[in-house]
């Protein structure tokens, strides 16, 4: 069971990988490789991804979660990631973190979703709490009633990754790519995306300062941060056998969605005509 005071084994090293504008598809594949194919602890920090992208969780159904014709029209890539959770649209104003941990390094935090999230809420409080009423609310990072960060996990044997997407800023028209999900947290109360999410730049004074505070929160939690290079991290890619992150064919999905809608419209018209005939 995770507690507010859960501390790592003294001297535990976390390799810090700092990236900027790194493509989200490559970041996710790298995270999965670091989780599955290395024995080390990692903290990955990526300041934005250049191209706007929609990222779905492992069970996400594109036709139910994304306005596919709009995504196809705007040529926005769709990615299915290896972790659970919902759908996000990310871009250069999204700040990503990934904490990859060997359970033995944090023996008080069981490798299950709720203890991990209880732990990370405490971890990130160091960075966010000074600026407002920060909390993990039904598994979302929030200030008050408004969500500023999504998160998701993957757990394998005694290793886990908790990764986040913090909204420093966002473009409203990009939020229009997302449909209202069927499964929603209660506190959302049916609000649409723009009423539900919060731009961190509205509350925090400096993006650069936030990046520094996120790294500092890991150190404050008792870990010894050790800089790592991208080349070192990428060695895991060759060693990883399982890759659950992949790019979806948005054009094909949009075409299939259009065909489905046309077939439904045709069937509805035929049913209406048959009903009219029967009535006449």
């Amino acid at each position: 069971m995770a507690t507010a005071a859960a501390r790592p084994v003294p001297g535990t090293v976390v390799r810090l990988l700092r990236l900027q504008g790194f493509p989200i598809l490559q970041q996710l594949r790298l995270e999965e490789a670091l989780l599955r194919a290395t024995p080390h602890n990692w903290f990955v920090l990526n300041d934005g991804t250049l191209d706007p992208t929609v990222v779905l969780g492992v069970s996400g159904k594109p036709d139910q979660l994304v306005h596919l014709p709009l995504a196809a029209q705007q040529r926005v890539p769709l990615i299915k990631r290896f972790t659970g959770g919902g759908t996000v649209v990310v871009d250069a104003d999204t700040i990503f973190t990934a904490l990859i941990m060997q359970q033995q390094s944090l023996p008080e935090v069981a490798a299950y979703p709720r203890p991990v999230m209880q732990y990370t809420e405490q971890l990130f409080a160091a960075a966010f709490a000074p600026h407002g009423p920060f909390r993990l609310r039904e598994n979302d990072y929030c200030y008050g009633e408004r969500k500023f960060g999504g998160n998701a996990q993957a757990i394998t044997k005694s290793r886990w990754v908790h990764h986040t997407s913090f909204l420093w800023d966002f473009q409203e028209e990009r939020m229009a790519l997302l449909k209202q999900p069927e499964r929603q947290p209660e506190y959302r109360q049916g609000r649409d995306h723009l009423e539900f999410v919060l731009r961190l730049r509205e509350l925090l004074p400096s993006r650069q300062r936030l990046l520094e505070q996120l790294c500092a929160s890991v150190e404050a939690a008792g870990f010894r941060l050790q800089d790592a290079s991208l080349a070192e991290a990428e060695e895991a890619l060759a060693a990883n056998k399982l890759c659950g992150t992949h790019l979806l064919d948005v054009q094909q999905l949009a075409a299939a969605e259009q065909e489905r809608q046309q077939a439904e419209a045709k069937a509805a018209a035929a049913a209406a005509a048959a009903a009219a005939c029967a009535a006449g």
Binding site: G57, V58, S59, F82, T83, G84, G85, G86, A110, Y112, P113, R114, V116, M117, N139, N151, A152, Q153, A154, I155, T156, K157, R183, L242, G244
Partner: protein
């Protein structure tokens, strides 16, 4: 289902372990006696892995699922991915994924073998694992290729102690 949950909690609260045997799909006599529900927390007849999977052996076939402890820790399951029939699994490697509370968790194979059947009902309703982890929530059936591996799994008493120590 509420009664099953109450029974589980009552037994757990007393520090006891239900000894009601698991039902097999082979139409054993036990099904007639015990009905279609399993109330056990750690059924005596099963074997267990340290990754919280259970195994029921019927001849050369092993039925595999995740334990009551695992489903409770994972929370409400919303999605399951299972291997294809005909594929091989290796002990210690992931053979499937379950999703709950924003987490995708690997399900680890307790034994080597060839997948001969998967529980397709779980594709439509992953909560069956939460509700009946030892019954309708079974995940795969495997033709064993190394029966000696079963000796390396825990019995009910050892698994209970293992969980208490975690």
């Amino acid at each position: 289902m509420a009664l099953a949950q109450f029974a589980k909690k009552a037994v757990a609260g007393l520090g006891l372990r239900c000894g009601t045997p698991l039902l097999s799909e082979g139409g054993s006599a036990l099904r007639g006696l015990l009905g279609s529900r399993s109330y056990s927390l750690v059924p005596e007849v099963l074997k267990y892995s340290e990754d919280h999977e259970w195994v029921q052996v019927e001849g050369d076939i092993a039925v595999v699922g995740i334990t009551d402890h695992a489903q409770a820790e994972l929370g409400d399951l919303v999605h399951v991915e299972l291997p294809e029939v005909g594929s091989s699994i290796a002990a210690g490697d992931a053979f499937g994924v379950v999703e709950s509370v924003k987490a995708a968790s690997d399900v680890i194979a307790p034994v080597d073998g060839e997948v001969v059947e998967i529980n397709k009902d779980l594709m439509d309703d992953a909560s069956m694992i939460n509700n009946e982890p030892y019954g309708d929530g079974w995940m795969i059936k495997v033709k064993l290729t190394n029966k000696g591996q079963l000796d390396g799994l825990m019995d009910a008493a050892a698994y209970t102690s293992f969980c208490e120590g975690q």
